[in-house]
Amino acid sequence: MSTRKMIIRDEWERKLKEVKIRKEDMNRLIMNFLVTEGYVDAADKFRLESGTQPDIDLATITDRMAVKMAVQSGNVQDAIEKINDLNPEILDTNPELYFHLQQQKLIELIRMGKIEEALEFAQEELAPRGEENPGFLEEIEKTVALLAFEDVKNSPYGELLDMSQRVKTASEVNAAILTSQSHEKDPKLPSLLKMLIWAQNRLDEKAIYPRINDLSTAKLEEPAV
């Protein structure tokens, strides 16, 4: 095994100091995060406090957040109407998203104990989706199976009733709206952090140097000799 290059702290810190990071670029990263994650008010305040322009019209964030909230509160029909108000093409071009929204609607009907309505809905709305796309069949079967149990929460697929399922659907909706607005759906900041972890792992192969192991403090750890 080839020996790794040893870089002592002083030398590493010297290299760190030589890097030029522009404040405005960091501001953009923060603004991008606030905007993508839907913190409208914070984005607006940040615009005022830092002079950074949001990379998306803040008004569209409010609309997007309203849709997300609707899904998270279980008001799926309301969410669907809002999405169509925003951009009717979103659901047209996203069959998987539309299916997941329909599935969520069924879950909500079951949650509310509206069994007859649920059955009708499953047959009229969900079954055709399964016919169009056999990939959805498994999900349909799992969801419909909930109807067979009195204690739905503790049934084999009871986790579909969890908040996490709503959150999952809501995230999917959020991403689809962002994409339709030609905005990248993921904020840039988390991927940069992942890149740092990856870059350090790669450098570990060739060198011993002060690492940052705790991202939230960015503290440099002394290289282990």
């Binding site: 290059k5 870089i7 590493w12 290299k15 760190l16 890097v19 030029k20 990071i21 522009r22 404040k23 405005e24 670029d25 960091m26 953009r28 990263l29 923060i30 603004m31 991008n32 995060f33 606030l34 913190y39 008010d41 914070a42 607006d44 305040k45 940040f46 005022l48 406090e49 830092s50 002079g51 322009q53 990379d55 030609s182 905005h183 990248e184 840039k188 900041l189 988390p190 940069l192 952090l193 890149m195 740092l196 870059a199 350090q200 790669r202 450098l203 060739k206 060198a207 140097y209 940052i212 705790d214 991202l215 939230s216 403090t217 960015a218 440099l220």
Partner: protein, 218 residues
């Protein structure tokens, strides 16, 4: 993730944004105190926010006044970087408003003395050069009239105020934000890896290029 955003906002004193962010997210302000930096960065938050507001709006006189009132040690030594930056910015604001006579008077009274200081020389020369142009914003030193210069001064004052914290544990830690440290580390790691590699390891990371290369990040 949220902690890094929170730490950034705290570090630079973006108080209003921070409050809004904390209200909207699940980030609990007390949980961040667990790691030592949280407490340090909260020092003088409101004052730093106010000072930044003054500087961002070009009201350097108020910034000076408040600094004398709140953190006299920061502006005590007229030969300090902080004083030089504030004076040069005041001069720039005169130029921006077309107040050439006032600029000259101010420059003679407050800026001339920094001429000999090598550390300030390039900024000094550029600032003085503003007088040479009928339309300074179109000149090579026009960048000084940009809001980014105000931000640069605001950041410097911000760091200086953070440094007055009597409970300061980590001098270095307060001067550079957490996010900046992470980005620097990322850049150096990719550069270093590149220089150590036998074969081409691909591009090194440069934030500015990365942000401007993507067709539609911001």
């Amino acid at each position: 993730m949220a902690r890094i955003v929170r730490s950034y906002l705290l570090h630079y004193g973006y108080q209003d944004t921070l409050e809004s962010f904390e209200n909207a997210s699940e980030v609990n302000s007390s949980s961040a105190q667990v790691n030592g930096f949280g407490g340090q960065l909260e020092y003088a938050l409101n004052h730093r926010k106010v000072l930044r507001q003054f500087i961002n709006s070009g009201d350097i006189d108020s910034a000076f006044q408040k600094l004398r009132e709140w953190y006299p040690s920061v502006v005590q030594d007229d030969n300090s970087v902080v004083c030089f930056l504030l004076h040069s910015q005041r001069f720039i604001e005169h130029i921006r408003r077309g107040e050439l006579e006032a600029a000259v008077i101010y420059g003679r009274a407050h800026l001339a003395k920094y001429y000999n200081n090598k550390a300030f020389s390039s900024l000094w020369t550029d600032t003085a050069a503003l007088l040479a142009y009928g339309k300074p914003s179109d000149s090579s030193v026009g960048y000084l009239l940009d809001s980014r210069q105000r931000e640069f001064v605001a950041d410097a004052i911000n760091s200086a105020v953070l440094a007055t914290n009597p409970n300061l544990k980590d001098q270095e830690g307060c001067m550079v934000s957490c996010l900046e440290k992470l980005l620097r580390q990322l850049t150096v790691c990719t550069l270093e890896r590149r220089s150590l590699a036998d074969e081409d390891q691909g591009e090194a990371f440069f934030l500015h290029r990365d942000l401007n290369c993507k067709s539609r990040l911001a």
